[in-house]
């Protein structure tokens, strides 16, 4: 059964269900003999977790399992984590639309310019995409999905992930408007400075349209009706601070440009990706701007790869070693500087936490096939503890998305979204056996299968 939870209201309904479940024939489900990891990093051995109707009834040690529950045994070895939450992901989104040559470069249509605030991810995402299974195998149960696009790709919609996604898995729609300094190639606005000007101009036009609509609605005199403009109207919530902007930028300078836009236009915003956010951590804190940070680190250079990374054969290794011998002192100095620059990126999230900036997680432009490698890099060089990583990817992200009460943890009353793993999530070759999302059980790996079977 698909759970359709629409915001906190349905959570309350779910709780109500939980009190009278037996009478209504909605059976509970439970795992026993598990190692339970809470979002705050605390761990409980020999624990149980019970959920019913998509909501957690109890989680912890020595908890009673209802008589009607369907029970799975963790065998004292399976680890249960709150489901990871992707604060902004493009899973299932089609690639950015390629356009034909446009005769009017200077005055393109909204669509051609990549200005689509009226468009929702629920309209664009391919629900049958293989992405969702892969993301769940990485431990994610929830994702704020956006559309790959240009300047304003659309509205972010929050989904509870399932192997077979349906529109009913939409948890909250329009949780933010996507914005980025991405030009729509060959047409206005084609540069960052023009995107800034265009955004300001759009807001000015939206303001004028809304004013005219107000006059039209209230005036007793016959006046010309305002033109219908869904794009400008979709900007009203941002203009009136009823909706936040999820601005995807990485460099310090671009983040500063968003500060400037914030000062001029007065919007509330969330920094998405923010690879160099650590450089402006104090200003982010001062402005109370949360960060959904990406771990889309650049790949390590060949000369920094260790044996574990290096899959080349011995001959290639020998050649590499010979090349190493030719590295001059000057090159070594350059490389050391470059490596220090890598380390700064890896430590972005921990630096933001140190500065008391609210930090969650966003896959942003991270490719699925790189997820595991980048997680390993983050763990190895990020100056961050596993429990901190967990908190960033669960409770913190839920808080930033405004869903901290319902999502991101394993507390009674929260949405039953968690992953059951073979080992702690930071260890190598950890597998997600079950992904429970909104109470729905998704079996991802069959533990009864041997390596040979696979």
């Amino acid at each position: 059964m698909k759970q359709i939870l629409t915001g906190f209201c349905l959570l309350i309904i779910g709780l109500a269900f939980s009190f009278s479940a037996s009478a209504q024939g909605v059976p509970a489900k439970a795992f026993k003999n598990i190692i339970l990891h809470q979002a705050d990093g605390s761990t409980v051995n020999d624990a149980v977790i019970v959920w019913r109707n998509g909501v957690i009834e109890t989680a912890g040690k020595k908890k009673t399992i209802p008589f009607d529950a369907e029970v799975w045994d963790g065998g004292d070895s399976l680890h249960v984590y709150p489901g990871f939450i992707d604060g902004t992901g493009y899973w299932g989104s089609p690639d950015r639309k390629e356009f034909e040559e446009t005769p009017s470069r200077g005055d393109p249509s909204y669509e051609r310019a990549g200005i689509r605030p009226e468009r929702h991810a629920r309209e664009t995402v391919d629900m049958k995409s293989e992405d969702f299974k892969k993301v769940m195998e990485a431990g994610f149960t929830t994702a704020a999905l956006g559309t790959k696009g240009y300047m304003i790709p659309g509205q972010l919609d929050l989904f509870l992930l399932q192997l077979e996604m349906e529109i009913g898995d939409l948890y909250a729609e329009g949780i933010g408007m996507q914005l980025q300094f991405q030009d729509s190639y060959r047409v206005y606005p084609s540069t960052t400075m023009a995107i800034m000007a265009k955004l300001e101009q759009l807001m000015l036009e939206a303001k004028a349209l809304k004013e005219w609509q107000g006059y039209y609605a209230s005036s007793s005199t016959e006046i010309a009706p305002p033109e219908n403009d869904p794009v400008l109207e979709a900007l009203y919530p941002v203009m009136e601070n009823e909706q936040r902007v999820f601005f995807k930028v990485d460099s310090k300078e671009n983040i500063e440009r968003v500060f400037q836009l914030q000062d001029e236009l007065g919007f509330d915003w969330v920094l998405v990706s923010g690879m160099e956010a650590y450089k402006v951590a104090d200003e982010l804190k001062k402005r109370n701007v949360p960060v959904l940070a990406s771990i889309n680190f650049p790949k390590k250079p060949d000369w920094k790869k260790d044996d574990k990374d290096d899959k080349k054969d011995k001959k290639e290794k020998k050649k590499k070693a010979e090349e190493e011998e030719e590295v001059t002192e000057e090159m070594k100095a350059f490389r050391e500087k470059r490596w220090q620059a890598y380390l700064l990126l890896y430590k972005n999230i921990s630096e933001l936490m140190e500065a008391d900036v609210s930090v969650g997680f966003a896959s942003a432009d991270l490719e699925l096939k790189e997820m595991s490698n980048r997680m390993n890099d983050w763990k190895e060089y990020g100056d961050i503890k596993p429990n901190e990583m967990l908190k960033v990817m669960t409770a913190n992200t839920a808080d930033i998305l405004g869903k901290g009460k319902e999502l991101g943890g394993l507390k009674k009353g929260q949405v039953a979204s968690f992953s059951v793993m073979t080992k702690p999530f930071t260890e190598e070759e950890t597998k997600v056996v079950y992904s429970v999302s909104a109470g729905e059980m998704n079996e991802l790996n069959d533990l009864t299968q041997t390596e040979e079977d696979n």
Binding site: P189, S190, T191, M193, I223, K252, K337, Y342
Partner: protein, 455 residues
């Protein structure tokens, strides 16, 4: 040792804790080329808190002020490049013939290594111009080369607003040939300017009428129809109102005359023709109109409209009383603008003082910042370069460059790698080669032609 010096320079800047630091220093016993009050042998220049407070001889350093021994060296104002595209992210918003609403202040790359290279050539300020793809491009930004101080730190506070215009082949190629729209010819360029000015005048009148009507509206009768603020038209209207200085890319004498006629009709003053290779043909007319020129010393023949040129251009303009400057439009040429100025002596027998003014005081006049920089005078900013020989000598090497009394370049402390922002994903090669900004005025533009014309 060099590494230590590098660390010390940038640590000291960082410790100052603000983005536009002011320094105090006494530069002693140099040959001071003031460009305002002659030359002072064995002269001293005292800078306190970023401002020149004394020029003379036997000046004592106040307590805590460091002294720099410039004996045997030449002290002159920091060089000002009135036409540059270094330190820019995007240069051309080339999608429309008029893009007056975009601003280069939003396109500053404070980490461009070319900034440091310019400092090494004695340059202390630049005019970061929008490119020349459009008839009316974006607003430009005057910068002080406070390398390491970020975007805000580079801005020249108090500098007037300026904007880039472009005449001739660039806008006609990009828009006429590239997009099949006006302007296709020089006649079309003129009409784009006139039409845009007229539209801006209409817009401003309509907008002001609306705001007045809104203020008077009591809720009775027909409400005023909103006229949205239009950023493009606002800037153009400000040009017509004389609040924005125009720097117009140009080459041919006929188009220079055309723009002067148009500006006279609309009452626009204080403008500069940049490049202006044929300006020498209309030097008296330019003088009569109060037009300025910013030219190359001897660079031409890179496209058809730039064939009729002469190395006497700057000297002829100067002799006719036109305020003329020498610019680089290049991440390479900016490193030796002193040599470019010296060519006016070699070719046109210009005086040394006038040649130096072409890279200091005159560009300051053209940018409207001559009350702060461009010459060594008490009360002006402490922007100074110190040279091993007379700066117009081919053997002269810049030793130090100060901005607001803070030293940003010192040849004795010039480490191998002066990058301040290292992109880990970037291999070494780009940092060792010329700056990508060498594309100059048409940077970011050629992609427009890649499929439509096959270039």
């Amino acid at each position: 040792m060099k590494k230590l010096a590098l660390v010390l320079i940038f640590c000291s800047i960082a410790l100052m804790g603000f983005s536009q630091p002011k320094g105090s220093v006494l530069i002693k016993d140099g040959t001071v080329l003031t460009l305002a009050n002659g030359t002072i042998e064995n002269g001293d220049v005292l800078i306190e808190d970023g401002i020149i407070t004394q020029i003379g001889d036997d000046i004592s350093a106040p307590g805590g002020v460091k002294t720099v021994d410039a004996s045997g060296m030449y002290v002159m104002p920091g060089i000002i490049d009135p036409h540059s595209h270094i330190a820019g992210v995007d240069i051309n918003e080339a999608s429309n013939p008029v893009t007056a609403e975009v601003k280069m202040e939003n396109s500053i790359d404070p980490n461009d290594i070319a900034i440091y290279r310019a400092l090494a050539g004695g340059v202390s300020s630049i005019h970061l111009l929008h490119g020349s793809a459009n008839v009316i491009g974006g607003e430009s930004e005057t910068l002080k080369l406070r390398y390491g101080q970020g975007q805000e730190g580079l801005k020249f506070k108090g500098a007037p607003r300026t904007i880039k215009f472009a005449l001739g082949e660039n806008p006609t190629r990009v828009h006429g040939q590239g997009s099949g729209i006006q302007p296709r010819t020089r006649m079309g360029v003129e009409q784009v300017i006139r039409r845009t000015f007229d539209a801006a005048i209409d817009y401003r009148r309509n907008r002001e009428d609306y705001l007045q009507a809104k203020e008077n509206y009591t809720g009775q009768g027909a409400p005023p129809k909103p006229v949205a603020k239009n950023l493009r038209m606002e800037t153009v209207a400000d040009i017509v109102d004389g609040e924005v200085l125009v720097h117009s890319h140009s080459y041919r004498a006929d188009e220079i005359l055309m723009l002067m006629r148009v500006f006279e009709e609309y009452g626009i003053e204080n403008y500069t023709f940049t490049h202006a290779n044929e300006a020498f043909k209309v030097a008296p007319e330019m003088k009569a109109n109060g037009a300025y020129a910013s030219v190359f010393s001897d660079w031409w023949a890179y496209k058809f409209e730039v064939y009729y040129s002469t190395a006497y251009n700057a000297s002829i303009l100067n002799a006719n009383g036109v305020v003329v400057s020498i610019n680089s439009d290049s991440g390479e040429l900016i490193r030796h603008l002193n040599h470019e100025a010296a060519k006016t002596i070699r070719y046109g027998d210009t005086s040394k003082a006038d040649a130096l003014k072409m890279i200091t005081l005159n560009p300051a006049i053209q940018l409207g910042i001559n009350d702060q920089v461009g010459s060594l005078e008490e009360g002006k900013d402490g922007d100074i370069s110190v040279w091993s020989e007379h700066p117009l000598s081919i053997y002269a090497i810049n030793q130090m460059t100060f901005v607001d009394g803070v030293k940003y370049f010192d040849r004795d402390e010039d480490a191998d790698d002066m990058r301040i922002d290292i992109n880990p994903a970037e291999s070494l090669e780009p940092t060792l080669s010329h700056s990508k900004k060498d594309a100059g005025c048409m940077h970011d533009v050629f992609y427009l032609f890649s499929e439509t014309t096959g270039q």
